[in-house]
């Protein structure tokens, strides 16, 4: 554990240095990556470990985003506290949902969470405090003056999101390696046997769902920070699907891959853009390309590295060893 802590601190240091050396656009992308890291981590916890499928994590992110924005806009709470609240309240909300979720398996859960993803954002228009389609402005404030004049807003976001990502990944890695992670894997594989071992499967599933929701809520709050605004359309169904894609690309079972998944999610629109502009911006191409890329990637990932790049690498290394040996 001590080793992991040191590793994360070192990683943070490296990221800090990188943040100082790249331009503002990259810094912004870095912040997005950090957000996705947390969101994908929440899917890995839920699906890879406890075996529950969620197609509605985008909606949970929205939930967290609104909580944070309300905290800042209405209660003028400090930013960090808003994030903590986002994680907590979404976690509690997820726990309540989890009671339903714990009783459902596979496709039933997929269906329910899908309905959540479609239904929840439209609720935002029901309550005027949520600001309708325009949403609510989340005033991120200015970076502390002590960081200097030239310290840009996006760098500030980058610091916040990266720090949050590092801390949550540290916690998550620890939890997944502890008896909790083991228990979730066990009940995913055989829930009767797990019960006989003294595992309260319902409670554990709810716990996993709740934790995962909390993480999603935090990711949502951070996402809202990077765009300064929370509105229903920022959390479309495609976001939920993208998160699943990211998790599959990362290796659904493997926290180490989250960086890759997150980077890819950020890069895809970029690639789509540049390819589309090469083909002269025809509406037919621009309208189909981004969807095509995400989908194709998803398909390639399940076909070729179903258990993540980690496994693939492991195999390659293994092969090389047996070849040379």
């Amino acid at each position: 554990m001590r080793k992991r802590l040191l590793l994360f601190i070192a990683l943070g240091w490296v990221l800090l240095l990188i943040g100082d050396r790249v331009d503002e656009l990259r810094v912004y992308q870095g912040a997005s990556i950090a957000v996705y890291v947390i969101a994908i981590g929440s899917i890995i916890l839920l699906t890879g470990y406890s075996g529950q499928i969620s197609l509605g994590h985008g909606a949970l992110m929205a939930f967290g985003g609104y909580v944070a924005a309300l905290c800042v806009a209405n209660a003028s709470l400090p930013l960090w506290f808003a994030f903590v609240m986002a994680a907590l309240v979404t976690g509690i909300f997820g726990g309540i949902l989890g009671f339903a979720a714990a009783r459902l398996s596979g496709p039933y859960l997929a269906g329910t969470t899908l309905a959540l993803a479609v239904g929840l954002p439209s609720l935002a228009n029901q309550f005027s405090i949520l600001g309708g389609e325009q949403g609510i402005y989340l005033d991120p404030g200015l970076p502390p003056a002590s960081l200097g004049e030239s310290f840009s807003q996006y760098k500030w976001f980058f610091w916040i999101t990266t720090l949050a990502a590092l801390i949550t990944m540290f916690w998550l890695a620890n939890i997944l390696q502890s008896k909790y992670g083991r228990t979730w894997r066990a009940l995913r594989s055989n829930d009767v046997a797990a019960q006989l071992c003294g595992v309260h499967t319902g409670r554990q599933k709810v716990l996993a769902f709740s934790l995962s929701s909390g993480l999603a809520g935090l990711a949502g709050a951070l996402l809202v920070l990077t765009i300064s605004t929370v509105s229903p359309s920022a959390f479309p169904l495609s976001l939920s699907f993208a998160l699943v894609t990211g998790a599959v690309v990362s290796g659904i079972y493997d926290l180490k891959g989250v960086m890759l998944g997150a980077v890819i999610l950020v890069i895809i629109p970029e690639v789509a853009d540049s390819v589309a502009s090469r083909f002269g911006d025809s509406l037919k191409i621009t309208s189909t390309l981004p969807g095509l890329l995400v989908s194709a990637l998803l398909i390639l990932a399940v076909l070729f590295t179903p258990n993540g790049p980690g496994e693939k690498l492991h195999h390659l290394r293994h092969k090389r060893k047996t070849h040379s040996g």
């Binding site: 620890n174 008896k179 894997r185 499967t201």
Partner: protein, 260 residues
Amino acid sequence: MNLMSTDTTLLAINGLTVSFGGLRALSNVALEVKPGEVVGLIGPNGAGKTTAFNAICGLVKPDAGELFLNGQKHAWPQTDQLTELGIARTLQGVGLFGDLTVLENVMIGAQKFSHSGLISAAFGRSSKDEKVLRERAQTALERVYATGIANRRADTLSYPDTKRVAIARALVSEPKILMLDEPAGGLGQQDIEWMNSLIRNLTAQMSVLIVEHHMDVVMSVCDRLYVLNFGEVISSGAVEVVRRDPAVIAAYLGASKVNS
């Protein structure tokens, strides 16, 4: 170990009745397990043996019947409370967690000895707890001679090894009552003999309730037998008595087994 000192029954059930829709799987079944005893539950296929286990383990809901633990009346337990009550059980199918390692499988069985919470786990503070679990798991694996496979994934094991691990996973919770559902099923002769001696050795620390079709095993490890047929106890008592009971021979053993 002091738990054998009382003379009360460890486990008793009375008037257990279970039905599935129109099918009455168990009717008015009674049985007892005393400290240090190995009690066999035998009977034809479909007689209701596993169902009786399931009722005790909270996996089916009885229509009627009472349960006594240590002489005290107790509600039919929730499945996940069994280990706390000192009961552990193996499944008729093996039921290991396929993508966990053997050690992890057994550590799950030892969960009740871990008290660290989520927060301390998050901060990586549960390592002491983990160590306790690991040591206990290792000890349990030693008892079934399976330390060598501790780091293998459970779904890569040979069949006899899975049986060992399943027993280790049950043993690790230090039960007072161990329920084994067909422990010898599918094993070869040598492994069966090994299983026999293991079960006999266990009685120093616990009572065993066993369902088994392998008569050699039943005869050599059990102190007493209950015979179920069509959900009813048709015979019970000492092994030697039961095996000669004509009703048992007719319903279950068949003529050829009587003299072997």
